[in-house]
Structures are given as C-alpha cells and as structure tokens.
Symmetry: C2
Subunit: 337 residues, 2 copies
C-alpha cells in the first residue's frame, strides 16, 4: 500500500506492507489525514519513532468485527493495555504500556490502511463531511481545555499562539461567551480570528499586565510561555498545550499537542508562577465525543482552516507546505470516500 | 540602631537610622529573626533590593496603637494598598503596589526595630516560645501546601528537597496521615526526618516511576523540578515552592519561598507535564493563623531545626553559617524578650 513513512528521513513508499489487525482491532481505509506539528517534531527525531506517520484521520472500516465494517470513523490515538495501574485507575489515556498511532510503537494513518483497536473508533455522523471529520482529533484536544478549566462569561482569557491548535481552542472558547483574545504573530491567522469575530492582537502589541484569569499557551516556545506568565493574573491559570522540543529529558510520550515550533532547549523560567501562585495545567488529548458533537451542530467551523490538500503521493511536498504558518491546515487525500 | 543591611554588599551597621512608623503602622522591637534562602538570593542581587534584610521574626510592639503596645507578635510580610484591582478582588497578598518586609521596598527585621502595618501583626500565644515563633512565617508558607491541595491518608506524596522549608512542609504533611516520603541530599536533614518518623530517601536512590499523587518541589533547582516531574503520576499535582534564581525575567517579587540554591538559569523542561497532564501549583506565602495554631498545639516541632544562634553583631558570620546545608536553621538574637 501507499504510505508516508519516517526512518531517519521522510519518504513516500508506494509498496509499504499492509497492516495485520490484532485481536479486537479493525482496519480502516483512510480517506483524509491531517498534518500536525507533532509530525514535524517526529521528523526532527522526537520520540525516536520510525514507521508510518499520521494521527489525524477519517476513513472507512474495511476489516474487523461485523458491526464496524463499512462505518465511517475517526479514531482515538492512544492504544492501551487496560491492565496497568493507570488503566485500572481510570487513567487509560496515560497507560504505561500504550502505543500511539503514528507517534509511538504503532504505524499511523498517512497510508491507505491503518489498524486501531475497535474501542478507539468513533462513528462519524453523516452531517459531518470528511474535510471536517479529519479535525476531530485536534478539536478534541481543544475541548480538553474547557473540561479542565471552568470558563464563565466573565472569565478574561487569552490564547497565546494562533496556529492550528490555537485557532481550534479559540473557537471552542468562543462558544462559552467568555472575554477572549487571541495573541499571535501571523497576519493570516489573525485575519481568520477577525472573520470569526474573535478579538485578536499581534504579540508585539499585547498588554502584559498580569490581568487575565486564564491563558492558554499553544505556541510551543519557551517565549510563548513567558508571555503567558506575564499575562495571567496572580492565582490565575495557564493551560499548557505545548511541548517544548529540544530538551528531550523525560518526554517519553508526546501526542495530541501542538509542537514546539520555536523550541530549542531554552527551558522556562518558573519563578513568576511561584511568585504569582499561578496554576499550570498540562493538557493533551481530549474527548472525541465533544468534538464530534460540536462539528455536527456547527458550533465550530473548521473547513476554512484547510489551506491545501495534496494526494498522498505528494506527501513530502505537503509536509513542506504545512511547515509554512500561513497554511493553517494541510491535508493528505488518500482514498475516495 | 543595630542592623544587617544590604547595599551592593552585606554589612553590619551599629548606627542605622531608626524607623518612622507610617499611618496605621507599629514599631516592633525584634527578639529573634531567622535567616532564609531568600535572604541569600537578595545578597546575590535578586530583587534589586537594598536596605535592612530579614522577614522572619518575633518581637514586641513598642510603638503604635494602644491596643498593640507590649504585645509579642509575628508579622505578615506583604504590606498592601487595599485599593488596587487585586486587593479589591480579595487577592491582597498579590497587591500590585505592595512592599515586602526585607525583600522589596521596605526595611526588614534584622535590626533592633522594624515597622509593619498593624493589620499585618499576629499576637503570639504564651505557649509558643520565641525560638518557635520565629518559624511562624516559613511554617505558614508550609501550610499553604495543604490549603492548595486536598491531602488524604491514601495520598502518595513526596517532598523533594530536605532544606528548611522542605522539612517544615514534611512535618505539616505528616499531620494528615498521608503516604509521605522526603527526598533529599543532605544526611543531616534526612536524619531529622528519621527522628520524626518521616520516611526519607537520598535523591540518588529514589524511584522515578511517575507514581506519586502529589510532589512538593522545594529544592530551588531546575534539577529538583525534573525529579518532581519524574515522580508525579499522570494527572497528578506538583506544588512548586521554589523560585529559580538565574533567569531573572518576570520575577519582580519573590517572597516566602525557598530560594534556588542550585539555581543558575537552566530553566525547566515542561514537556513531561503536558504529556502527563500534570497540574503545577505555584505556592508562596501562607496562613499565619494555621502556623500559630499548629505550634500552640504541638502538631509541628521546630526547635530542633535550630542549628545555631548568633547575636546580631555577628550577623555576617550567621549568614555564612546558614549557607551550610548542615545547619538547618540559623537565627539572629537581637533583643531579649
């Protein structure tokens, strides 16, 4: 089958071996897949992963249990053991033995076919197009923010970083009616906010006055974290959606987050968070059901984020295009629906 | 009056000018004062403070309103405006206009006399000795931990760092009956834990398995933070009691925390906290009333932490002694009770 794989370098393989589903697993024929910052990290050596990349997709089940065959699905990316202490404690997304589609120990969805455990699948309702459904995984990560922090209409909240994930999070936050501002660098993404009637500001003009109740950091850079800590009020909350590339220690697993586009081992000065008694919340994957529901009832609009769509054969070109921040989202077209 | 002051360098001044109390302020004749890591930071240039050092004390009110004269007191260190947005919002310990005794914009208590607003004073009950009362300020900071995080007997909790503040926090946590372990480097402080029947371990032997519900970081070093993030379980909580010296940005105010003894601008890699969805809580000053209550009912024992007591005239020598981690706490004897 066709696949975009990484092993020391990124390549297109027209004859990658087809996957063999394990017990309780389904094979999904992939329609569309999305390229994410984490994919770029992996290509820079992060996670030590080799194999087929990709963890955002929509496709049709072609093999597996009768009930699923023919269903159009999106898939949760953490494949878990259900036996370790964390699975037993209800924290299975943190399973100590987990593999992660296209990120750790398991091939991803930049291929004709991908396998996932049946219990990872979510059927996509007919009202959601493929081009929307491919956003379910990152949109779920965005919904995680409002599951972790109670947001009210009077909450003053800033999203630092107007990349793919920042714009999804901003849209999710906008649904709460809170006092929202997006802080970014890229005029194109700030224009996207304007169209959505979300207040936005260039990072150079933003007021750093420790006066926001909540700040969501999604730049992926220590500098962005510095801005977040200068914006959040004493006893406020910073939600950290970014990992910082460069300092590799400890970051064994790393999925569902916006990656460190400017990351480079600088690290973060945490003194202000102690002095101001800030709460910092690490935030990773999120609830697929919320994302599917939001797309189905049109609470969030994602189609206009798609800048370019490439056939899988031109996957390397697609990767290059997705490195340009002006292209908010780049997709791979793999199979017709 | 006699005072230990800092202005480019530390000096003993036998004829420092006596303080003039402002409106609503009292003058306290200091009996005993404690040297803390923050004092050492200031001497290294942190906060850009110059003036009399010292923010841990017990003394007797000698000037001010009738009701307070003759009372033995400890004093809260943040002197606030009560008018700014944060004071109005009930966050007065984060007052934007605050001065901080011996740390920012206000002389401290390493002197015969110190002034504080009347509303900062807490009377010390007769059952608490001077040598105990001088621990009220840091013990309050320790109590802040259990005010921020609910601790239950089944909670698995580690304190990383067995310095002054770490040992106070460990004692406070021990009162909850939780599953507690202190991780430190200094044999003398680990022996202190043993005497208190608190489980302790050398940092070189500790199990880094992401299996503690809560970790309190009080080493003041990015390395300690790395250990904390390797000990805390996914979705667990790290309470950050340390500021990290070296990276100066943003750390305008810095009080009531254990300082960065190994700090040096390294910064911290936060990727593991995103991947494991850890909650990080910055924690600074705490409730004086809890600390006074704990000392009065003997829930916490502090006297055996005192390694040496110097007269104020030998304050520079006392500073040197307090830089040695084997001396858990060093006090300055300033006036008889």
């Amino acid at each position: 089958m066709r696949a975009i794989r990484f092993a020391e370098s990124l390549s297109y393989d027209a004859a990658y071996s087809e996957p063999h589903p394990g017990n309780g697993e389904c094979v999904v024929r992939v329609h569309l897949a999305g390229i994410c910052a984490t994919d770029h990290h992996i290509v820079r050596g992060y996670m030590g992963f080799s194999g087929v990349l990709g963890h955002e997709m929509v496709g049709t089940v072609v093999e597996g249990s009768e009930a699923w065959i023919g269903k159009r699905v999106a898939g949760e990316i953490n494949c878990v053991c259900r036996r370790c202490d964390l699975c037993q404690a209800g924290l299975s997304s943190h399973c100590r033995e987990r593999t992660v589609m296209g990120i750790a120990g398991r091939d991803g969805c930049f291929a004709d076919l991908v396998t996932l455990p049946e219990r990872n699948l979510h059927e996509v309702p007919e009202t959601i197009s493929d081009e929307e459904a491919v956003f379910i995984e990152p949109l779920a990560a965005a919904y995680q923010v409002i599951q972790q922090v109670p947001i009210e209409p009077r909450t003053r909240i800033a999203v630092v970083g107007s990349g793919r994930l920042g714009l999804l999070i901003a849209q999710v936050l906008a649904t709460t009616g809170c006092k929202l501002e997006v802080v970014g660098r890229n005029p194109k993404t700030l224009l996207f906010c304007e169209k959505k009637r979300i207040q936005s500001k260039s990072v150079d003009e933003v007021r750093l006055k420790n006066d926001r109740d909540v700040v969501v950091e999604c730049t992926g850079s220590p500098k962005g974290m510095g801005i977040a800590l200068a914006m959040v009020r004493p006893r406020g909350t910073v939600v950290l959606k970014s990992t910082y590339a460069g300092k590799g220690t400890g970051a064994r697993r790393h999925e569902g987050t916006e990656g460190g586009e400017e990351g480079g081992g600088d690290g973060v000065d945490l003194a202000p968070m102690v002095v101001n008694e800030v709460t910092l919340l690490g935030s990773r994957c999120g609830p697929f059901s919320e994302a599917i529901n939001a797309l189905a009832r049109r609470a969030v609009e994602v189609s206009s984020m798609v800048a370019r769509v490439f056939p899988i054969e031109r996957g390397l070109e697609a990767f290059e295009a997705s490195a340009d921040p002006a292209n908010i989202k780049v997709l791979l077209k793999i199979n017709p629906r």
